[in-house]
């Protein structure tokens, strides 16, 4: 063995190299304040290892980026941990960079003759920020998509070259496949290569000039190995432990939230995203921009950050002047305090903003739903996961309702999305439409003309309302029982999923109710029910609340089968081309509670 190593040493000189690496002289002994550079190198190595593994499963295109990340996160062995480590180590690097910079400035390690090393460090800081920015987009989820869009749009305000620069970065006029291929090439190739080159130079220069030992010396001189290496290893272990804790934080703090890094809903350029925020370490810039309205934006986005960076580059030169070092210390303190204050202000404003909080809740819900649909037996179509969400009644129903129906209708008292529209409802509340409870409410003399039903419509004092108040009020217990059967029969026409078992169980009651509707109770005096009736004057009860009935009703309530010329204010959504057929179908499905539910639908399919 010894001979083999001797042979190797003769050919490579590795012993000298190892000795130089390990026996770096440290005046005053090893100290904890020197660990930051090593922890940063450690983090970079972790990012390279996890990055290569992620690379093996990641697919950069607008139909596959989110999908491949979903697959890593939810389907591959250890995928959530791999993503989690990569994500949180990136965040740790930002904190460690700040600590490293502080230590270098406080200890005066940036002064001559170490200027060049300080500059490579500042460039490395920018490169790490660029890696964070490019990495944020790669999962192609709503969050990364909209936040990065803001960043690249800011490029556009640079004078003269802004528009072209933006086009080059984005890979075209708008976000798409080439945005991802470019960001990925930058994130996994160009930027890491530059980081490797600069770290090599940074460490070489560091060794050339030696450590800037902090005075007064507390201990006798030592060597890098093993004294400082021991401290560095412990610090790296602490960083690794913190990253792992963050990966499993949701499991430790309760059953909520995903393991590892978040993955939002797939990016959808047609779906506005009010919860868009940059990562926390860019929040100070985000907040800073708020103070620069319109034409002054370039000051907040480009000029002032550029000047600050410029002054930081000049710090080693400033230190040569009287009180220069004190100025630099003050500058770093002001910058850190300012960034900290801006970050805090941004968080505080968001916390106090109910619209933002609601947007975050919605974003979480959609992220969860997207994963649920992607895991469904039908899987993800070639068009990508965004197609799943766009056609999902549970996701789109509330939005369509809020935009198109909630100016008059309510859904359980709100606009479908949980928001409260202004003013009282001017049409019925449609939560549970056509269910037994809903129809029973309509046929209740106390409720038929309430705002929950016909209250603020022109049917407030219409035939139906009058009939209910006149007849049902005086019903005997037997008649009430008959009415209950009629309600079951009419409601069964809807074939609601939630009532499927009840409808099957009460088949006899429903049959009886149908006969009563045509007989003693007398629905068919105005309505057509189960048989065509040319003389019917009120909405069709055949198939009432079924998908077909609802689609036809929403398409055109003025149709003779529904309200005809007596229609109140409801628009004919299809005929007036307000909504397309697919959207109307989605609305009908949502009102009827027809959407994919994991577990339930899997068992239904198995049956």
């Amino acid at each position: 063995m010894k001979r083999l190593l001797d042979w190797l040493d003769e050919r490579t000189g590795y012993r000298k190299l190892t000795n130089e690496a390990l026996y770096e002289h440290i005046p005053g002994g090893a100290r904890w304040r020197y660990v930051w550079g090593s922890t940063l190198s450690f983090c970079f190595v972790v990012q390279v290892i996890t990055g290569f593994a992620l690379w093996m499963a990641y697919s950069p295109s607008s139909q596959t980026a989110w999908e491949s990340v979903f697959y890593i996160q939810h389907q591959m062995w250890g995928g959530w941990l791999l993503r989690g480590i990569h994500h949180f180590t990136a965040q740790a690097m930002i904190i460690l960079l700040v600590l490293h910079l502080m230590q270098v400035v406080i200890d005066g390690a940036y002064k001559a003759p170490r200027e060049v090393n300080f500059w490579t460090g500042l460039v490395l800081l920018q490169l790490v920020l660029a890696l964070s920015l490019t990495g944020y987009l790669l999962p192609w989820d709503q969050k990364g998509f909209w936040a990065t869009k803001v960043a690249t749009n800011l490029l556009g305000i640079i004078p003269f070259v802004g528009a072209d620069l933006q086009k080059l970065v984005v890979g075209g006029s708008d976000y798409g496949h080439h945005t991802l291929t470019r960001f990925f090439a930058l994130h996994a190739g160009v930027l890491p290569a530059m980081v490797v080159a600069l770290i090599a130079g940074h460490i070489w220069l560091f060794r050339k000039h030696g450590i800037t030992a902090k005075r007064p010396y507390k201990k006798k001189d030592a060597y890098f190995w093993p004294d400082q290496v021991f401290m560095d290893a412990v610090a790296c272990l602490a960083v690794a432990a913190a990253v792992l804790l963050l990966c499993v934080r949701h499991k430790l703090m309760g059953p909520h939230g995903p393991l590892g890094a978040d993955l939002g809903a797939p990016a959808d350029p047609s779906e506005p995203y009010s919860a868009a925020r940059p990562e926390w370490y860019f929040l100070f810039l985000f907040q800073f921009l708020k103070y620069f309205p319109g034409p002054l934006e370039i000051w907040g986005a480009i000029i002032i950050p550029g000047v600050v960076m410029g002054v930081m580059f000049l710090m080693p030169k400033l230190a040569d002047r009287p009180r220069g070092h004190q100025f630099n210390l003050a500058l770093i303190a002001v910058l850190l305090a300012g960034s900290g204050w801006l970050t805090w202000a941004a968080m505080k404003q968001d916390k106090a903003d109910p619209a933002y909080q609601l947007a975050v809740t919605e974003a979480d819900r959609e992220a969860h739903r997207a994963a649920e649909l992607a895991k469904a037996p039908d899987g993800i179509p070639l068009a990508g996961a965004v197609a799943l969400l766009r056609s999902d009644p549970l996701t789109q129903g509330p939005k369509l309702f809020s935009k198109n129906c909630a100016s008059c209708h309510r859904y359980d008292g709100h606009d479908g999305t949980g928001r409260q529209p202004d003013g009282p409802p001017r049409a019925p509340d449609l939560k549970g439409f056509a269910s037994r409870e809903w129809i029973a409410g309509l046929l209740d003399p106390a409720r038929v003309d309430s705002n929950h039903y016909f209250g603020l419509t022109k049917f407030n004092d219409g035939k139906m309302s009058k009939w209910v108040k006149k007849n049902v009020t005086g019903y005997s217990p037997e008649q009430r029982e008959q009415l209950r059967k009629v309600i079951a029969a009419v409601s069964a026409e809807a074939g609601l999923r939630a009532q499927r078992d009840a409808d099957a169980r009460d088949a006899a009651t429903i049959k009886e109710g149908a006969a009563l509707a045509r007989g003693d109770i007398g629905c068919t005096e105005c309505h057509a029910f189960q048989k065509p009736d040319e003389d019917a004057t009120a909405p069709l009860l055949t198939g009432y609340g079924s998908r077909e009935w609802l689609v036809r009703f929403i398409s055109n309530p003025k149709h003779g089968d529904f309200y005809g010329s007596r229609n109140d204010r409801m628009p004919a959504f299809a005929e007036s081309q307000i909504l397309d057929t697919q959207s109307i179908g989605i609305l009908a499905d949502w009102l009827r509670g027809e959407w994919y539910v994991p577990g339930r639908d899997a068992t239904a399919a198995a049956k």
């Binding site: 000795n19 130089e20 390990l22 026996y23 450690f42 190595v45 972790v46 290892i49 996890t50 290569f52 593994a53 992620l54 093996m56 499963a57 596959t64 999908e67 491949s68 979903f70 697959y71 890593i72 389907q75 591959m76 062995w77 250890g78 995928g79 941990l81 791999l82 480590i85 060597y223 190995w225 093993p226 004294d227 290496v229 021991f230 290893a233 412990v234 790296c236 272990l237 960083v239 690794a240 990253v243 792992l244 992607a374 039908d378 899987g379 993800i380 179509p381 070639l382």
Partner: protein, 188 residues
């Protein structure tokens, strides 16, 4: 800057030597420990394909008897099936192809078009009355047997089980086999 010279310079006491060794051991252990999680997670994702199974053999309705030439000339048909490709699921998409022909005995023979040598798709050439592989010139007779003793292919074309249902529907038990072996080993 000599490792031997460095610590020995100040004639370390046995106590110091012990502390020094402990520090070195702990440094190596802590340094190693930091890499466990990233390395394991990365390795797990890299090895993930090992736990994935190929779609099991399919029984697919390919065509009807009328579509096959009477005189025993093979005709190529695509195999349409639902395909799972990592995260994507695609219904009824081509997953392979077969040559079908009527045998002189009146049965139907199905051959997987993949050459057992390296997996290129073979072509039927009517003027040479056999299948030929465009990659390394493997040659097979019309019944799929090796037509050439020097053929690079280690075995005949892979014959697949055929069922004729309802007197005319041709159903094929579709399966791919590993290339390069003398035996038919299903791809898993």
């Amino acid at each position: 800057m000599n490792p031997e010279a460095a610590p020995a310079g100040e004639a370390a006491s046995p106590d110091e030597q012990r502390r020094d060794f402990l520090k070195k051991a702990l440094s190596v252990a802590a340094g190693g420990a930091t890499m466990v999680a990233p390395a394991c997670a990365g390795l797990a994702v890299c090895l993930d394909p090992l736990r994935r199974q190929a779609a099991p053999g399919l029984v697919v309705r390919v065509t009807t008897l009328e579509a096959l030439p009477e005189e025993g000339v093979p005709r190529k048909f695509p195999i349409l099936a639902s395909r799972v490709d990592a995260w994507n699921k695609t219904p009824a998409t081509p997953v392979g192809a077969v040559y079908l022909r009527r045998t002189p005995e009146g049965a139907v023979q199905a051959l997987n078009v993949a050459c057992p040598h390296a997996g290129c798709f073979v072509d039927y050439q009517s003027e040479r009355k056999g299948y030929f592989c465009p990659c390394h010139n493997s040659a097979f007779a019309v019944d799929g047997k090796l037509a050439d003793t020097n053929s690079p292919s280690p075995r005949a074309l892979d014959e697949l089980k055929v069922e004729v249902r309802n007197e005319k529907e041709i159903w094929v038990h579709f399966q791919n086999f590993q290339a390069g072996h003398a035996e038919k080993i299903p791809v898993t």
